[in-house]
């Protein structure tokens, strides 16, 4: 099963190999060994590095603040912090550019280039880190931290030596997703005019109709992904730890004292910048334009298209991710690691390349599925499998395998162990993964345009049509609904993963130290 799932992710790669082989290795080398490719590599990698580091700081920091501190307003903030993920990068970048006249009257100082791209990508990518880390933090058994505190460790030392290592798989997985997202993103870098691989691929395709050039550049992107995966794998080998929680109880919130207001302020600033700029820009579009009325007749059909295609894509992706993620977490070894890593390979490819590879797959192998929602869902699975695999694997890594072993030793069948023990334990992770895929699929544009059933519209395709001829007022409602719809699963996930304590509408009274009446069972940390 895991093999079949990985095969889906490898479809685009097979296509790339096939097309590259047609040209031959010498041609490939000739295209690749140029100064431009070297420059593209440097820019793409630097951007990925800068954005990933920034995402780790914002993502882990905010996850800790909303789950482990008494920062006021953390319940609503926990939900709001996930929302920037619902804003497609092309909308984000375009709205940032179109409000830049507010703070700069000089057209020469246009909002573009490396800094602009890094800022925009960070603001809309950090939830890839925030969501899994927050979910993991909410589930970590606090007993080990309590032991550390009772043995005299300060809060900072406890955090860095006990808490963070326990959620390390979530941090590494989130960082990896952020890095690959940056490599694959086209919207932001094209609008903010930063010459990266994706932009060069699109340019080759769109202005020269040069498929072989575009696909050759894509193979280099795959090599970069391999390098990043190798690097991340090395940090991971240092050892994931299983928490041995047998009870799940919320960790006590740390009292930050006066600093808690700084926490609120910082989180609010992140949310306000990320969501406020697009909101302001969309409001201006509606106010200035005359085409808003056009949207209302069409928005229902487009919303249905978005929801149905993304839901199907999310279900398919999660179904494929389960065997890969569980295998990686439960039976660590060369094969499972290889399969899990392979799931990531296509993730850094731009949507248009994955879309074209599925066009090829559709017309040569699965003609009956071509231009049906099923092939589109398969494309989403191919593109977004890692989102779900990472979520499943990190959730499974935190669920103690001893419970499964116990169930098995009591004579429970493997299938029943899966449904009664493994699945409930990993469900928050699966839920988060499904929601991530769902959100990301809703925003996806290039592959959707290539593979959707003829005549099917989604909010993203409507947004693309309207902005294509400058009807920004019409575009604004689609963009707003896209974000609003994406907000619903985000909210559900945030509640379910336990980031927000149930019933905590407002700030909880903070408890600086663990309750003395909690006799936490002391158990050793188990290394696999």
């Amino acid at each position: 099963m895991a093999l079949a799932a990985t095969a889906v992710a490898l479809l685009p790669l097979g296509y790339l190999l096939l097309r590259t082989a047609e040209g031959g290795l010498p041609t490939w080398w000739e295209t690749v060994a140029t100064e431009r490719v070297a420059r593209l590599t440097a820019t793409s990698l630097l951007l990925a590095l800068v954005v990933t580091l920034a995402c780790l700081v914002i993502g882990v920091g905010s996850a800790w603040l909303v789950t482990r501190s008494n920062t006021p307003g953390r319940a609503p903030l926990a939900v709001l912090l996930a929302l920037p993920l619902a804003v497609p990068s092309y909308v984000a970048a375009f709205t940032w550019v179109s409000v830049s006249d507010l703070w700069s009257a000089d057209p020469g100082a246009r909002f573009e280039g490396f800094g602009a791209a890094a800022l925009v990508l960070t603001l809309y990518t950090y939830p890839y880190v925030y969501l899994p880390v927050a979910a993991a933090l909410a589930r970590v058994d606090p007993s080990q931290e309590e032991v550390a505190r009772s043995l005299g460790c300060g809060p900072w030392r406890t955090l860095t030596t006990v808490t963070l290592p326990q959620v390390r798989p979530a941090i590494a997985g989130g960082g990896l997703l952020a890095a690959l997202y940056v490599l694959a993103d086209f919207g932001a870098v094209s609008i903010l005019r930063l010459d990266t691989f994706t932009r060069a691929i699109f340019t080759a395709l769109s202005s020269g109709f040069n498929r072989s050039m575009a696909l050759t550049l894509a193979t280099v992107l795959v090599l970069l992904t391999l390098a990043i995966l190798w690097g991340e794998g090395r940090t991971r080998r240092a050892g994931a730890r299983f928490s041995t929680a047998t009870v799940s109880r919320p960790a006590p919130a740390l009292d930050l004292g006066p600093w808690r207001l700084v926490g609120t302020g910082t989180l609010a600033l992140v949310v306000l910048t990320a969501l406020g700029v697009p909101a302001l820009s969309l409001a201006r579009w509606i106010a200035a334009g005359s085409s808003a009325g056009q949207a209302w007749d069409r928005i229902g059909g487009a919303a249905w298209g978005s929801l149905s295609a993304s839901l199907l894509g999310a279900l398919l992706t999660v179904a494929l991710a389960l065997p890969v993620g569980l295998l990686a977490a439960r039976h660590p070894g060369r094969l499972s690691a290889l399969l899990e890593r392979a799931a990531y390979l296509a993730h850094a490819l731009p949507g248009v390349v994955v879309g074209l590879s599925l066009v090829f797959f559709g017309v040569t192998v699965a003609l009956p599925l071509y231009q049906t929602t099923w092939l589109l869902a398969l494309a989403y699975a191919s593109l977004f499998l890692p989102l779900a695999v990472a979520a499943v694997a990190s959730a499974a890594a935190q669920a103690p395998p001893s419970l499964e072993e116990a169930a098995q030793s009591l004579g429970t069948s493997p299938a029943r162990v899966f449904t009664r023990v493994t699945l409930p334990l990993t469900l928050p992770g699966i839920g988060a993964g499904a929601a991530l895929v769902f959100l990301t699929a809703m925003k996806e544009l290039p592959a959707t345009l290539l593979l959707r059933p003829t005549g099917m519209e989604t909010l993203a395709t409507r947004l693309w049509s309207a902005t294509g001829i400058g009807r920004y007022a019409e575009a604004a409602p689609y963009a707003l609904l896209l974000v609003a719809l994406a907000a619903i699963p985000t909210w559900v996930v945030v509640r379910r993963t336990g980031i927000v304590p149930a019933g905590a509408a407002g700030p909880l009274p903070g408890r600086a130290v663990p309750h003395p009446a909690d006799p936490a069972p002391v158990e050793p940390v188990v290394s696999p």
Partner: protein, 362 residues
């Protein structure tokens, strides 16, 4: 726990559902199971061309601009049009990838370059001579595989407050001069800009084109991703002038809900056959097995008085057939002093893109 079991059930059933749908969806992409209600209204060529009353159109042009005229076509002929909309370039790549298996019957493209790329792979069928003869040689394929449907002129959009009419340049060559430093908007990733540079290479030679691009790059140009952004920035005064296609001004006026004359952006057509006055086309070609009477009927309709009038009035583009007036408020196509060039000569975009990249504009 109930919730959990249900999810497990979904997981277990999903492969089954997938398998079931594989068999039921089998006929979905094919269009030949639709009832043949429509007769071949266009030219009544029974026996020669097949008609099943439907056709699949791949449109690289925007839905807002194209769908109304397709609706007119359907109510006129009874032929249903299934349309896929996408970006012209991505759609050309898609057609190339689909090859012989393409469900498309016709490809409506934003520019001649895309049609040429698809035609070069042998995927476009030859059009009948009567159809080709409706359009001037310059605006159709030399091998008869595509025809132009509408003409769009390259222009200099200028802000009427910032640039008095007597200061307008007589040639694009002047835009590399010091008086235009930091004032010129261009969209180098745009196909229309690249066609124009290709035309300059053909007309004035490779060296002249390279020199111009370098001069432009050194003159602190205002680079935008799209023509529409340039026109909006010229109107707002952020940029003084910009090299664009003529109809973007009409899009901007429509979005702002005002007449084009009320905008602060106006059009300057370069005189004396300057390369800056290149007229490019949007066009159509037939894909797959021909003759297909339905697809041919669509081409005929789009080149009829009714079809051409739609484009003139609704998208402010120039008609391709004789005897029709151009868009109101614009000089007629015959009055434009366009450069003497055949669009068939603009196929070599590779070199152009290399030069634009070299100049640091991309």
């Amino acid at each position: 726990m109930i919730r959990v079991t249900r999810l497990a059930l979904v997981g277990a059933l999903l492969p089954l559902t997938l398998a079931a749908c594989t068999s039921t969806d089998e006929q979905a992409p094919a269009s030949d199971d639709t009832t043949t209600e429509a007769t071949d209204a266009a030219d009544g060529g029974e026996g020669v061309a097949e008609s099943d009353g439907t056709l699949t159109l791949y449109s690289g042009r925007n839905e807002e601009l194209v769908q109304p005229v397709l609706d007119d076509f359907t109510s006129e002929t009874g032929i249903e049009v299934e349309v896929r909309y996408a970006d012209t370039a991505a759609m050309a790549a898609q057609l190339l990838e689909e090859g012989e298996n393409s469900p498309a019957d016709a490809f409506l493209a934003q520019d001649a370059g895309a049609l040429g790329a698809v035609s070069a792979e042998g995927l476009l069928e030859e059009l009948p001579q009567e159809t080709l003869d409706l359009v001037a040689d310059t605006y159709r394929s030399a091998d008869g595989t595509w025809v132009g449907l509408t003409g769009r002129s390259r222009v200099l959009a200028y802000n009427t407050e910032a640039v008095p009419e007597d200061e307008l340049p007589a040639s694009v060559q002047e835009l590399t001069g010091p008086e235009w430093t930091g004032r010129v908007g261009v969209a180098p990733t745009n196909a229309s800009f690249q066609s124009f540079v290709t035309a300059m290479r053909v007309l004035e030679g490779e060296d002249a084109a390279a020199t111009w691009l370098e001069g432009l790059a050194a003159n602190d140009p205002q680079i935008r991703e799209r023509n529409g952004e340039i026109v909006a920035d010229v109107d707002s005064g952020a940029i003084d002038v910009g090299l664009v296609n003529h109809y973007y001004v009409y899009e901007l006026a429509a979005e702002q809900g005002v007449a084009p004359e009320e905008l602060d952006v106006a059009l300057h057509f370069f005189p004396d056959g300057d390369t800056g006055a290149l007229v490019n086309i949007s066009g159509i070609g037939l894909v797959g097995e021909q003759p297909d009477a339905d697809a041919q009927a669509l081409v005929d309709y789009l080149l009829s008085d009714a079809g051409q009038t739609y484009f003139v009035e609704q998208t402010s583009e120039y008609p391709m057939i004789e005897g029709l007036e151009g868009p109101a408020g614009l000089p007629a196509l015959e009055e434009l002093e366009t450069p003497d060039i055949d669009l068939n000569d603009l196929e070599d975009l590779q070199t152009t893109i290399g030069m634009i990249t070299e100049a640091g504009l991309l």
